[in-house]
């Protein structure tokens, strides 16, 4: 898979809005997820904070491999590089949240393992009244060449 020109990628992608959508975590799903995470006891009705990421990824309106296709990379080689999450109000189960998002940056760097592309995207989570959380996530795509 050839590597696209960085400036073309940036011009096409930076600022691009994501379709967005919504998510809701039923109580049983929260329970099972907390067990799978080996979470300490969490107050009833409250979601583990990692659900800010899980929920917003599900509600952003595109599948996880969408970003790989945008940058013409192999989805199976993409890895999550880093995340920053702000929680303004704790998320609750059985409640509907809406998600809006956009691609905020694309960069290319040379690392120990060769050329890497970094794609940042921001997601915001709202309840019926206000913004309750936001996140910035970075996916890393290894490149085979440096075109």
């Amino acid at each position: 898979m050839s590597t696209p020109d960085l400036e073309l990628l940036r011009a096409k992608l930076v600022g691009m809005p994501l379709p967005g959508g919504s998510f809701e975590v039923p109580a049983y799903r929260a329970w099972i997820s907390h067990a799978a995470m080996n979470s300490p006891p969490i107050p009833a009705g409250t979601l583990h904070p990692v659900w800010i990421l899980l929920g917003s990824l599900q509600g952003m309106g595109v599948p996880m491999d969408y970003f790989a296709h945008l940058v013409a990379a192999d989805p199976s080689t993409a890895v999550l590089g880093e995340i920053t999450v702000e929680q303004y109000r704790v998320l609750e189960d059985s409640r509907t949240y809406s998600v809006v998002g956009r691609i905020s940056n694309v960069e290319r760097r040379r690392g120990r393992r060769g050329m890497l592309d970094f794609l940042d995207f921001q997601l915001e989570v709202f309840d019926a009244e206000q913004r309750v959380a936001s996140s910035t996530q970075t996916f890393i795509f290894p490149r085979q060449d440096t075109a």
Binding site: R29, W31, I32, S33, H34, A35, A36, M37, N38, S39, P40, P41, I42, P43, A44, G45, T46, L47, H48, P49, V50, L53, L54, L57, Q58, P63, M64, P75, S76, T77, V79, L80, G81, E82, I83, T84, V85, E86, Q87, Y88, R89, V90
Partner: protein
């Protein structure tokens, strides 16, 4: 839940877990993640990444946050960051911990870390938490508040 005075230098109790493949399977289903690297060892081998399924990044974040959730309520976490440095595989025994690096009257900053089964550091991060809410000792003239009144939620028990 133990509520602690989060002073600089305080080391939070470590969190240890063996990453069971069943957890990874459940997590893939929960988040509708079709990436076979998280449940199909053959796919991991074909990708040249080893011979066991890889833990999801978000599950690794959850493990690191469990360190914080063991001592403060989820609602008190205002911000967290994580940076991924390495891989976690099924059957790894991961260890995560944290130490308070800054503390003011408004918030405390906790530096987080997690090591995989080979003792390699696979994640670093931070969590910022608000101070503990002041307990409500007496809200009416009818006597002191009960324990249930001072606790905003009932703990969810998984037993």
């Amino acid at each position: 839940m133990t509520d602690l005075s989060l002073h600089v230098g305080f080391e939070l109790p470590t969190f240890r877990v063996t990453v069971e493949p069943a957890y990874l399977n459940v997590f893939s289903l929960l988040v509708a993640d079709p990436n076979p690297l998280h449940f199909d060892a053959a796919a991991v081998a074909r990708a040249g990444l080893g011979d066991k399924p890889l833990s999801q990044g978000t599950l690794n974040i959850a493990y690191a946050l469990n360190v914080v959730l063991a001592v403060v309520d989820a609602a008190r976490i205002t911000k967290f960051t994580c940076r991924f440095l390495g891989r976690v595989y099924a059957h790894d025994e991961v260890v995560a911990g944290g130490i308070v690096t800054e503390a003011t009257s408004d918030e405390a900053t906790i530096a987080l870390w997690m090591d995989n089964g080979d003792g390699e550091r696979v994640l670093t991060g931070t969590a910022i938490v608000e101070p503990a809410p002041r307990p409500v000792l007496s809200r009416t003239a009818q006597g002191p508040a009960t324990e249930a009144e001072t606790s905003p939620h009932d703990p969810l028990r998984r037993e």
